[in-house]
Subunit: 104 residues, 2 copies
Amino acid sequence: MLKGHLDAVLLATIGDEALHGYAIIEAIRARSGGHFDLPEGTIYPALHRLELAGLLASRWVQPDGGRKRRVYALTDSGRQSLIERRAGWQSFASGIDRVLGARA
Amino acid sequence: MLKGHLDAVLLATIGDEALHGYAIIEAIRARSGGHFDLPEGTIYPALHRLELAGLLASRWVQPDGGRKRRVYALTDSGRQSLIERRAGWQSFASGIDRVLGARA
DNA sequence: GTTAAAGCCTAGTGTTGCTAGGTATAACTT
DNA sequence: AAGTTATACCTAGCAACACTAGGCTTTAAC
């Protein structure tokens, strides 16, 4: 559904906040105006992949109420990668726009 | 490289012109400002897939000079599908824009 | 005490588009 | 004439991606 742009979406959604997986799903749904409603089977493996790639760092947090959560934050290379991916998206989108003749 | 939008790009590139595969590659390269340079291994199977799906129709043409070409044109459902895919792309792109906080 | 919500996870799978080859004809170079 | 480049088509196999469809645990609500 996110067509190869999932990583950029995850990095941008986390931003400076340090969110856990479930909250990331809700944040994406909210920020996209309900457009993207990602299943857990999509985001959890992706978070693991991004952590393995060194773009995210996770820690377990025990909140006052509720159960333990795994919370993700951007690393330095994660921040760097987000900048690059944002630029990559804009370049990609303007390329498609040109070919489709939309939003020229 | 086209992240799931290849079909829309192909349909839009062909448009009303009836192009053959090789010309489609060049047209995409030109219209995207050199951004998309698709290998043949990408577009030929995609054209076959779109023809099988009834969105394209092909015929062999023997030009005055040069070798035989297989020329593709949109069918009625191809035209319909292009309209839908264009709308789909705009909706998708604005969703990503919102999440990435770019081109808001 | 049972159901629903919050929260995490994985195995398996289908789609997609790429790599890396192969074939053939025409045009241009040397 | 021979070799190279450009034109033009094709396929098998593969890797990435994200989805389906499950499973597990804990807390809140009824």
